[in-house]
């Protein structure tokens, strides 16, 4: 504990291109980039599956497959295959982001399509019955109804990515993971534990930010907090079937 404190309370550790602030920014940058890409892929795909009911089995199997891939192995393979074809710093960054996206897509995808599934069939039926077009049903009824589960998908993706981005430092990209790798190399346990602590803090901050956005964008008419955590379990259950 003392070691961590000593490391964290040293002002010079915060500054510079490999200081705590820069590394935290970097880490956050990877995460935001990863989540943006993953959400852009997973949310429309999930909405389409939920809305049409098509392609479900294929996607559930693919997603289960993706979840069982060993992250570190995937990372090394990605670097080996993609690295030589990409110039400069990107050679390490792109494969890392790719692997993080692979990790983040399943929970968001599952959250999205089970969110659409959760929408009361009677509400959907009423919407069609009053003459809404397919798009109007999707954006006016299904998407707002799916939001609580889309958010739980995003949040669990964010937690996984924040932790796993640390591992990505092994292939010499930046971020908070560097403190763990570099600390290990010189047996600076204060630095290692401090880095781990910072990863945790970042995870908490991010989750807090998500919960704030969720509170602002999800209709109060939908699920109280207890209900959404129950739904969350449902969404993981859907994946394993």
């Amino acid at each position: 504990m003392n070691l961590v404190w000593t490391w964290l309370s040293e002002p010079s550790h915060y500054l510079g291109s490999d200081g705590i602030l820069a590394r935290s920014w970097q880490h956050l940058g990877y995460m935001v980039l990863t989540l943006l890409i993953a959400a852009t892929v997973a949310i429309p795909l999930g909405l389409w599956i939920g809305h049409t009911g098509r392609g479900r089995i294929v996607v559930v199997n693919a997603v289960n497959g993706m979840r069982s891939l060993p992250t570190l192995g995937l990372l090394f393979i990605a670097v080996l295959l993609m690295g030589p074809r990409i110039p400069g710093d990107l050679a390490f960054l792109a494969p890392s982001i790719f692997v993080l996206v692979v990790l983040a897509v399943p929970p968001i995808l599952a959250g999205t399509y089970s969110g659409v599934d959760e929408v009361d069939p009677a509400a959907r039926d009423a919407a069609r019955g009053m003459g809404m077009t397919s798009w109007q049903v999707l954006f006016g009824v299904e998407l707002p109804g799916a939001l609580p589960l889309i958010f739980s998908g995003l949040r669990s993706a964010a937690l996984q990515v924040v932790a796993t981005a640390t591992i990505a430092a092994t292939v010499s990209i930046g971020g908070l993971g560097r403190f763990l790798i570099d600390g290990l190399a010189v047996r600076d346990y204060g630095q290692m534990a401090g880095g781990a602590l910072l990863v945790g803090v970042l995870a908490l901050l991010l989750d807090g930010a998500f919960s704030l956005v969720q509170r602002l964008s999800v209709s109060p008419g939908l699920s109280a907090p207890e209900a959404s955590s129950r739904n969350n379990q449902d969404s993981t259950a859907t994946i394993t079937t």
Partner: protein, 365 residues
């Protein structure tokens, strides 16, 4: 006017849900489809707004073949109330009601103002407007469902068991309000229920369907009760058909009796004097509206509400023979209380006289 001609629906799995249904729903009237579970009521209703496509026959609305219309435009011109209301959980009550007008291009502020008026019309407090559906009781949700279907003021309403998810007391309220609303609005309504009593109460015309989706009989409720075409319809109508049929016979000029009445709040002495040996006398309020029967012998001091016998029903001169007969049968004095349209006491009647009025009415028809 909605006309179904030999309409059929065979589902892909081979189930014939509707096997050649011909029926006309006249303008401004309530046509009820009733029948046992699985007889194709919902399927028939949903073919009218093309939520289900028929596999045979034709459906026209005001002479226009619905098959030739754009389904979404067709549906926007018809109110549709589904079982369990199907409200949008993420929208407040008022925005639920405003949905169709907004779809049709009405400005949101205008649509909301109209929605407020509608909520009042269906008997909902303005304070409920900002709530979400999960904060409403079942009966309130049903009312919102009806308001939402009425919002764009469509000439046609399709209603699928709209009052089935609530307890009998609330259902009765909803039915009464629905009839009151319809007497103001005069919509062309097709109403589905599996409850024959509801069908008879609400329908101007009742169509009884058999399993397999064919028409067993279509008639006014009175004719249906008086003359079911076969055993299936008779069984489905249930018992007490003769008595229930009286509900559709207007009260003729009944020979009304004078009755000893006493103003509420009178003393025991006064009541005894007025009664002059009669066991039961009728207590009235200051508007001459009947409050209940009272036994002067058993009074402690004054004629107070707690001393009144309240078991007797009250019939109106505007009401049916069934009401008059029930008033007589339920009265502790065996004399049924009759009031005028304003609820003021006009006289009493005994069961035997109501029955002879029934006989006279029957001989006349």
């Amino acid at each position: 006017m909605i006309v179904l001609e030999d309409v059929q629906k065979r589902f892909p799995d081979g189930t014939v849900a509707v096997g050649g249904l011909s029926l006309t729903a006249p303008d401004g009237r309530i046509t009820v489809l009733v029948g046992p579970s699985g007889c194709g009521k919902t399927t028939s209703l949903r073919m009218i707004n093309r939520m289900i496509e028929p596999t045979g026959g034709s459906i026209t609305v005001n002479g226009q073949d619905v098959a030739a219309m754009n389904p979404n435009e067709l549906r926007r011109g018809m109110g549709y109330v589904i079982q369990h209301a199907g409200l949008f959980p993420h929208r407040s009550v008022i925005d639920n009601v405003a949905t169709v007008p907004v779809l049709l291009g009405t400005k949101k502020s205008v649509a909301r103002r109209q929605a407020m008026e509608l909520l009042e019309r269906v008997g909902l407090e303005p304070a409920l407007a900002q709530r979400y559906p999960n904060q409403l009781s079942g009966g309130q949700q049903q009312r919102v469902g009806v308001a939402r279907a009425l919002a764009a003021d469509p000439p046609v309403m399709l209603m699928d068991e709209p009052f089935s998810a609530v307890d009998p007391v609330v259902r009765e309220q909803l039915q009464d309000e629905f009839l009151r609303l319809q007497s103001e609005l005069g919509k062309t309504i097709v109403f589905v229920t599996h409850d024959i009593d509801e069908a008879i109460k609400l329908g101007d015309q009742v169509a009884v369907l058999r399993v397999g989706g064919t028409l067993a009989q279509v008639a006014s409720p009175a004719d249906l009760l008086a003359d079911p075409v076969d055993d299936f319809v008779a069984d489905f109508l249930g018992k007490d058909r003769g008595y229930r049929g009286l509900g559709f016979q207007a009260t003729p000029q009944l020979p009304l009796r004078e009755e000893v009445t006493v103003p509420i709040g009178s003393s025991k002495e006064q009541a005894l004097r007025l009664a002059a040996g009669q066991r039961w006398i009728l207590a009235l309020d200051d508007q001459r509206r009947p409050l209940g029967w009272v036994e002067p012998e058993h009074l402690r001091d004054e004629v107070v509400p707690t001393m009144l016998h309240r078991g007797g029903t009250v019939a109106s001169t505007e009401g049916s023979l069934r009401n008059a007969l029930d008033a007589a049968l339920s009265s502790p004095s065996r004399r049924g209380v009759i009031v005028d349209a304003a609820g003021r006491f006009v006289g009493t009647v005994v069961a035997a006289e109501v029955l002879s009025a029934v006989e006279v009415a029957r001989a006349d028809s």
